[in-house]
């Protein structure tokens, strides 16, 4: 009896898994079709169609920096600069170092009316941030993990090595691996922390008046489409935003879209 149940259960599991896998691959195939169609429409100048195709990919819960990048391009060509900036920023979040993304984002940012001067940062933080942002999160994670594995390996090796000379070499290797690991873990944790806590958004309405309080009447300043803001806090329909220059105010939720 027990044996039989086990058998059926395992069959069921295998079936489910394979169906899931199949569906997955089928969906992935469909998503690829959307991607190709989107590119074709873009090439033909049907930017609105291209936008729809690329959006379909995202609606099927798939993403890749290329999709965001291509979608941003389509929005830009369609004249929707804010949406273009939003998607370039999303692409950049997945792929920091791509030249095309950075170029197009910079070009799209030129259309922003508001010129916001970034506040100066303490140089060490700035350096750390620059280094952490010079590597994609995946690569950074890979390096961190590899260093970790290398350190473990070296430690094990050190335990079983008999020759004192080899032991000394292994020890030096362990020390350097530890230092490297500490640095990369720091950057990696910093990036993860940033990823999890720093919510940024793009203003997508033409022009919005930033208020001093949720539902407040006092205008603090005015922003225009495409400006990147950091979301610090939120109530149900209002969000507290902070600009790169340190200005703080409240905006209605629907004028923003998070990156």
């Amino acid at each position: 009896m027990d044996m039989k149940f086990d058998k059926y259960f395992s069959y069921f599991m295998i079936m489910t898994l394979s169906i899931l896998c199949l569906a997955n691959t089928l969906l992935a195939k469909e998503v690829e079709v959307f991607f190709v169609r989107g590119n074709e429409s873009y090439q033909a100048g049907n930017y609105k169609v291209a936008i729809k195709e690329f959006e379909k990919i995202l609606n099927s819960d798939y993403e890749s920096w290329e999709v965001y990048y291509n979608l941003g391009n389509a929005y830009f060509k369609d004249g929707q600069t804010a949406k273009a900036i939003l998607n370039f920023e999303r692409a950049k979040k997945l792929n920091l170092k791509d030249e095309d993304i950075n170029y197009n984002l910079e070009l799209a940012n030129l259309a922003i009316v508001d010129r916001i001067q970034e506040l100066p940062q303490f140089f060490l933080f700035k350096l750390a941030s620059t280094i952490a942002h010079s590597i994609n999160l995946k690569v950074l994670g890979g390096i961190t993990l590899s260093t970790y594995l290398l350190l473990i390996f070296l430690t094990v090796l050190r335990i079983y090595l008999k020759s004192p000379q080899l032991q000394r070499t292994a020890f030096v290797a362990i020390i350097s691996a530890s230092v490297t690991l500490t640095v990369f873990t720091g950057l990696f944790v910093m990036r993860i922390f940033e990823n999890e806590t720093k919510v940024e958004a793009i203003v997508i309405k033409d022009r919005v008046d930033v208020k001093s309080a949720p539902g407040g009447l006092t205008e603090v300043f005015t922003l225009h489409e495409g400006v990147k803001v950091q979301i610090k806090d939120h109530s149900e329909t209002w969000v507290k935003i902070r600009l790169a220059d340190g200005k703080i105010g409240w905006l209605e939720v629907d004028v923003l879209e998070t990156i």
Binding site: S64, W65, V67, R207
Partner: protein
């Protein structure tokens, strides 16, 4: 004063002969008639000395204002007035100062009788308030003394001395003569004003003589004022006004609105004009009455007279500090503000005209360009300013129009905030801030999309102008689930933890190895099972070969070796009793020990007293020995 010589001629043919003291009827010839005719002619010309003499004194007004002139007229009348010495000027010390005297003579023939009167006009300036008496004036005539009555005069408090017109020194005319007949008066509508509140000042010529022309030789200085002149008609019109009981023709020649620029006491310097006046010819003194016959009463004497107006002082009050709006710029009066835009729906980069009109009465010129808080989305050009000032009906009014050209650069609902303007409201004497309404302009995106790029960009951005974005990514990417971050996946943690397990194992194994190499007892104990098992395996081989003594020997070795290894003693010299003792020391259960010892004994017995080789018995014993080892291993 002008000589007011008046000739009253009564040329009657009937001569009153009775008045003649000489009786010519006594002459009886024709010649005597002619002579008498000559006499008549002569006699008529000779004044009569029999006429009574009279002296009178009177003032032109019994009540005089302080600092005003009055006239004391002393009139002598009689036949022989000319021979009378002039009366002395009374001394009015204490209440009036003497200015000067003019005189006039008149003759009258009434019913053939001639009377002459001579009037002395003494001009005085009242200097003290109060009631005073002018003492009697006396003259001597033919040995007799004639005197006038005492005259009462009252000097009352009057207006300020500025009211008095002054004359220009060196004027060719007799000062007393013209000062009351022609003067220039400056008058203001108020003397206490706020800063920037207009004062209307007008200059009027008061005259009783005929002024044919005038020219301004010195304009009033208006330093410290912003002046706005009213337009005067080309032809001056005159009206009549009574001043001190005299009728004057008044010509207003200049009218200005003055806006004081600073506070404090301000003095307006007088204006000087030169008038051309026509005066009747006059005589200084006409002792000879026949002079008047050669005087043409219609021929006029044209003179140029310089006259100076009074100066005027004005007290300028500073505007109150209380309630002064921050954007107050000095406008005083009453104003209104209006704004308009020419269109409210535009596309980006389309120009809109915003008109802001401030109008009202007051110093409109001072109205500053309103500060308009344009949203940064607008490009705003400097306004075109149109100013129109109306100078009529006694006040300065006007409007200032600011025309802004604004270009919305970005789409959206844009609003132009209200334009405010603050001024000091004169009627209510308070500050007021007026404002226009908010103008809402909806801006839609124009067609010229890329015009925007570059506007407001810095120099570094210029390199992008005219550049297109980079092309699409064409390679089909590796799709991943949205929001799937690898650091949240299980495999990440597996990768993270698994090496730790390996590391732990490695460490413990290393520790085990170390123990093995450093501790023989531990090593032997660790090896005991292994040894026992391998001996049992050998025993099994012997059993299969049916070698009875070999089998029991191997089992015995296994049992003894196991004990020896476990307890770290040499197994070679061990005997069953010793094993029994040692196992008891280890506090092992009696059962286990006895079954183990039982096996050992069986081995010894079977090895040295071989019986029949029973396979079944051997395998039974094998199992028993194995169990005994396992049981002991569990407990040891």
């Amino acid at each position: 004063m002008i000589d007011k010589t008046r000739m009253v001629k009564k040329s009657s043919p009937i001569i009153d002969l009775q008045a003649n003291p000489i009786n010519f009827m006594s002459r009886k010839n024709r010649f005597s008639v002619l002579t008498s005719l000559a006499w008549i002619l002569f006699l008529t010309a000779v004044p009569s000395f029999t006429q009574d003499f009279e002296i009178k004194a009177y003032v032109n007004k019994s009540s005089v204002r302080l600092n005003q002139q009055f006239e004391l007229n002393v009139e002598l009348s009689g036949r022989d007035v000319q021979r009378v010495s002039d009366p002395e000027v009374p001394v009015l010390d204490g209440f009036a100062s003497f200015i000067g005297t003019s005189n006039s003579t008149s003759m009258q023939f009434v019913n053939g009788r001639m009377s002459v009167s001579k009037t002395f006009k003494h001009h005085f300036l009242a200097s003290t308030e109060g009631k005073f008496q002018i003492p009697a004036i006396t003259v001597r005539y033919k040995g007799e003394t004639y005197s006038t009555d005492v005259i009462d005069i009252e000097i009352v408090k009057g207006t300020s001395p500025q009211q008095r017109s002054s004359r220009i020194p060196g004027s060719p005319n007799d000062p007393q003569d013209l000062s009351e007949q022609l003067f220039l008066k400056a008058s203001v509508d108020k003397r206490r004003v706020y800063k920037n509140e207009p004062v209307i000042i007008s200059y009027k010529i008061y005259t009783t003589v005929n002024v044919t022309n005038y020219g301004v030789s010195q304009l009033p200085s208006t330093v410290g004022f912003w002046s706005e002149e009213f337009e005067m008609p080309q032809r001056l019109t005159s009206f009549t006004e009574f001043v001190n009981g005299r009728q004057y023709q008044v010509y207003e020649i200049k009218k200005m609105a003055l806006f004081p620029q600073g506070s404090g006491q301000k003095t307006l310097e007088p204006m000087v004009i030169e008038c051309e006046v026509q005066l009747p010819r006059r005589r200084r003194r006409s002792r000879d009455i026949f002079d008047s016959f050669f005087d043409d009463p219609f021929s006029r004497n044209t003179k140029r007279v310089g006259i100076q107006s009074n100066s005027i002082s004005i007290e300028v009050l500073p505007l109150p500090e209380k309630g002064k709006p921050s954007d107050f710029s000095g406008a005083v009066g009453s104003f209104s503000i209006r704004s308009s835009v020419d269109k409210t729906r535009v596309k980006t980069n389309e120009a809109i005209t915003l008109k802001v009109n401030i109008s009202g009465t007051g110093n409109i010129k001072i109205v500053p360009q309103p500060k308009i808080d344009f949203a940064s989305d607008f490009e705003v050009y400097d306004p075109k300013i149109n100013e129109s000032i109306k100078r009529s009906s006694g006040q300065i009014s006007g409007s200032k129009l600011f025309e802004y050209v604004i270009i919305p650069r970005f789409p959206g609902q844009q609003s132009i905030k209200p334009v405010t303007f603050s001024y000091f409201d004169l009627p209510s004497k308070t500050y007021r801030t007026i404002s226009t309404d908010t103008k809402v302009i909806s801006v839609t995106k124009g067609d010229d999309q890329f015009v925007n790029v570059g506007i407001g960009s810095s120099k570094e951005d210029v390199r992008f102008i005219g550049q297109d974005i980079h092309y699409l990514q064409t390679r089909i990417p590796e799709f991943q689930r949205k929001n799937s971050v690898f650091y949240k996946k299980t495999f990440f943690y597996v990768i993270l933890i698994f090496p730790l397990i390996i590391l732990g194992t490695a460490f413990s194994y290393r520790a085990h190895l170390d123990k093995l190499s450093s501790n023989v007892a531990y090593a032997r104990s660790r090896k005991a099972n292994h040894m026992a098992l391998s001996r049992l395996k050998d025993a099994n081989k012997q059993m299969k070969a049916n070698n009875l003594s070999g089998f029991y020997g191997e089992v015995s070795k296994a049992l003894m070796g196991f004990i020896g290894d476990k307890l770290n003693v040499a197994s070679a010299g061990l005997i069953t009793d010793e094993v029994d003792k040692m196992l008891h020391v280890q506090k092992i259960e009696e059962n286990t020990v006895s079954s183990y010892l039982d096996c050992l004994k069986t081995c010894d017995y079977k090895r040295f007293a071989p019986g029949d080789s029973n396979n079944l018995a051997m395998s039974d014993f094998f199992e028993k020995a194995k169990k005994a080892i396992i049981n002991l291993e569990k407990e040891i």
